[in-house]
Amino acid sequence: MSEVTGTNYLECLLKSWQAKPIESLSWLNQLRAQAIDRVSTQKLPTKRDEEWRFTDISPLTTLPYRPSQPDVNLRIQDIQHLFLDEVKNRLVFVDGYYSLQLSAVANPALVIGNLPALLSTHASILESHLGQYARFDQNVFTALSTAFLRDGAVIIAPRNTVIADPIHVIFIATQHEVTSYPRCLLIGESGSQITLIEDYVALQEAAYITNAVTEVSLAGNARAQHIRIQRESTQAFHFANCAVALAHASHYQSVSITQGARISRHNLDVRLTDEAAECTIDGLTLISGHQLADTHTCIDHSKPNGTSHQQHKCIADDTAHAVFNGKIIVRPHAQRTNSSQSSRNLLLSKTAQVDTKPQLEIFADDVKCAHGATVGQLDPEEIFYLRSRGLSEKAARNLLTYAFGAEIINRIPVISLKQQLAQTVLEQTQSN
């Protein structure tokens, strides 16, 4: 095995990608070529980079993570436990590769499928959206994803169409010491409504890298609910870049749950590009052991009358380390912006750590911006109240920890998923 470390790591990664598929579409080839170009001019971030100062990813480069191969034989019964009652359309990707057998596509009212299959039928809409929001000039992970662009979930909610049943996109990790590149594109045409569940799961404890990129574009008056569950192996590295563009009076609701990975980094960039757009961004990080979970969000108001509400919560146990950096930009023209952000954090042990930082950059004068951050332990008065009703101290602590997280989980608009997660959180908070 060749030694892949430090500076030449990216080079080696690029070289290892032998099967660069040549598409007949020149725009796609061009996009990839640009991205490859960008990879070669960038470096992996280190703790010296301001944006990465809490997150040391050097362990990543000590293992020769090859690109994953499309060669596993997962059966439907292996993943059935992940299925949700409400879902009629499901796209399943195994180590980044689309699995036709495991997927189910049933709704003729929307466009849904794997990227290569839609390239010929939906070339122009894909060309105008794919790679346009998740910018790769500043981000080496997005650049890598775009350079390696192949399979990907594509969902298009057509004009004025309400898709009542949620779309479930499952990215399953099965291989050791590989890197996979999950990719997702959601396009909500004007007046459409849709719910997307993006689900990252591992079927076993293994070390691997997930480098995920998701793009969401909502046209005028479109609405989307976007749920993101990261439940990777606790040995895995998970890097995710999600970029969202919101047009006039569109409405975006996002709930992100981070439970897995040894080291994870989730960037969520939401741009309110036109007037009266609205977003609600909620997040819950629930980690223990040696896990590190870093969430960076950026909500960028560039036009008037925008609204954004954000609540992020972290629960850290043992020696886990949670990071939340919430940037809110209100540009000069974005008058009458109404924005709120709250970061609440719960430390369950003396050695757990949370770094939370609101970052407000406000250039308009007529705005309402509220923000607050707290880091604390469980409230002794709440514990006493529960004990005075007969609950043991442990049961009381568990219930309160669960409740702290449940506030975010309860925002998930899909009942079966909400129950599934509530159950795992309940179990997780009762394990120690």
Partner: protein, 264 residues
């Protein structure tokens, strides 16, 4: 009601307790027998809530002297949850809000814990739902309080009703109601008092902490105690509350000083 030869439920002797090194309770003596209703009155800061919380086992208070016997057990040896399971109930002066825990989940957990302790049957969510709705009728509470988070956003009066609902579910041996009447409107006061009256019987006992005679019109106490600076300084029948209503507390202080003067 005062019953002859009725068994003692609570016996407090010379109880002293402090918080952060400040002594708040300075020697409390109190005996409560089965069937009795006791009222404890006294100025703000005299130690009524402290006494209630020490009874319930609040870990912030350090008991520095005295004893508490509850149904023959040494209460001070028990952690709060075991006191609750043994049949002690405190309705908080300021009930705690617990966002994220559905009231019904909390009530069922508490109910089942206590039931299990008593060797009785636990209820599943459906059975419990029927059961708790019946109890809520007693207090004229709307069923949507079940789905909301524990006390979160409840008005002051709604919180107090939720406390009494818990009392109704747990069927304690001894209930300590710390200013359950404060913040209730007249109608709510009647409803809550009526609820409490229906829960009291010859086999349990109640301690009412209150500032107002008004409550005692509805729940008639057998004894009224006056607390001052961490001690019970005077005990009488229900007419003592009326006297306090008209005369205030000054005369007691005067009396006490006189007493002290005599005994010194």
């Amino acid at each position: 009601m005062i019953i002859e030869n009725s068994p003692t439920i609570l016996s407090v002797q010379g109880l002293r307790a402090s918080i952060n090194g400040t002594e708040i309770l300075k020697g409390i003596d109190l005996t409560v027998k089965s069937g009795e209703i006791h009222a404890i009155m006294g100025l703000n800061g005299s130690g009524k809530s402290t006494f209630s919380k020490v009874l319930a086992g609040h870990p912030s208070y350090e008991v520095t002297g005295g004893t508490i016997q509850f149904e023959g057990k040494n209460l001070l040896e028990l952690p709060p949850e075991e006191r609750a399971r043994a049949g002690l109930f405190l309705a908080f002066q300021y009930p705690i809000e617990i966002p994220g825990v559905a009231n019904t989940q909390f009530l069922r957990l508490a109910y089942n814990t206590v039931q299990a302790q008593r060797g009785k049957e636990e209820l599943d969510p459906l059975e419990f739902d029927d059961f708790v709705r019946e109890k809520m009728k007693l207090l004229e509470m709307k069923p949507d309080f079940l789905d909301r988070s524990v006390n979160e956003g409840f008005s002051g009066g709604e919180k107090k009703r939720n406390e009494i609902l818990q009392m109704a579910l747990l069927e304690p041996k001894l209930s300590v109601l710390d200013e359950t009447d404060s913040g209730l409107d007249i109608d709510a006061l009647k409803i809550v008092a009526n609820g409490v009256n229906r829960l009291t019987n010859k086999d349990n006992a109640t301690i009412l902490v209150t500032h107002y005679q008004r409550l005692l019109d509805y729940i008639v106490p057998d004894f009224v105690h006056v607390m001052q600076a961490g001690r019970i300084v005077m005990t009488g029948g229900k007419e003592l509350a009326l006297e306090l209503e008209t005369r205030g507390y000054d005369w007691i202080t005067a009396n006490k000083q006189q007493d002290a003067g005599v005994s010194a």
